[in-house]
Amino acid sequence: MEFNVNHPILFILVGIVIFIVLIQSIFFLVKSWKRGKEIGMDASKLKKIARTAIIFTIAPAIAIVISVITLAKDLGVALPWMRLSVVGSLSYETIAATNAESAMGLTFGSGTALNASQYVTITLVMTISILVGIWLVPLICKRLQNGMIKQEKRDKKWSAIFSDSMFVGMISAFLGYVFCDVADIAKGSTKGLIPVCVLFVAAAVMGIIGLLVKKAKIRGLADYALPISLIFGMASGIPITAWLG
């Protein structure tokens, strides 16, 4: 059988993997939905959570499709389809593929036709490198969760601060990242200000929605505040880039 990166057999194999993981998502959805009803959450609340999640996911998922297209130039469509539907992430996959290709003397993005051995090697590198989370969660999740529950029972107030601190810590790191190219202004480039301006636009939109919810009592907007601020922020990237880029 002659190999190419878009061989139909690869699509069948990838389709099977994605289908299994899709079943896992449906399994957990059904179980948590049942649990929600059991503890007295009404169906309208559960549906609202699902609706908000769908709307929020659309824009980031389209960005993931763009990554599939980018990776497909070298790796074919099947492998990026699997990696970005299962286990992978936007930022990691390109780096892993680049390292794996350069280890075999290839250049990522050149569109060189890979042979089967190169393809298997790249897939192995990408898989072995990223699997930590999948096997580590089963080993430590229960212990960590029990620790959190014990902490909650011991000191409720600190437990609430602990949760908030984790979220704030994560968000602070990403805030810092948005400013990472600001220093380039010293070199005469204003490009580094683009993400900063986008961040402020999204923040301003979120602030305005907050005011509309509180002052004008448009409560329905609260459910869609994050997706709306996300879309406005992303869209603002177009004129801001034209201005500063």
């Binding site: 994605i18 899709l22 998922a61 297209i69 190169q118 298997v120 490198s129 930590v132 949760s163 968000i171």
Partner: protein
Amino acid sequence: METYETYLNKVHKWGRIWNLSVAAILIAFPFVVALIFHVKPDGHGLILGLLSTAPVYWAVGFVETFTYIPMLGAGGSYLSFVTGNISNLKLPCALNSLEQAEVKANSDEGEVISTISIAVSSITTTIIIFLGVLLIRPLTPILQKEALAPAFENLVPALFGGLAVVFISRSWKIAVAPAIVMLILFIFIPALNAHTVGVVVPFSVLFTLGVSRLMYKKGLLD
């Protein structure tokens, strides 16, 4: 009705079976491809590729797992680490739902909300990527239009701009120190960028926890 603890024990059991099975399937994929096409991996390329990728990814994966589990809840953690795209999609999605319901991931209701958000987000992502793959020929020129590129390049700033308003305004006392420290670090250390932000997250979380604990002990968070 079963207790929260009993339900969580079941979630851990299901999660272990699912995650370890998916890990085995993912590892099997390259070997099945090798068998079908009668080839072996390039040993030299494999070792070099792993040396340049695995140590960093393993270190990041290790600290990320410890950092994200308390934020995602049990079901959300098992599912997120299998379906991927955690910091740019699954975690913000769960945070948004938890914030609206005003509950924490490590509570009975929070566990349900976080898991439903992440499961629905995963299913939606899978469907959208599937449609993208199915329509890849007509979609490629549209999605790769130069005019649209800045919108998708700025997904992370747009996402965290909105999230920052919600969480920093609510916990501003906690946020001042880590926000200032992270800004200084990212502005003045060139090595900190899009590729290394994942490594910085756990350190930022630990720093924030330390500062919060200190402020809490001194009664500054009353």
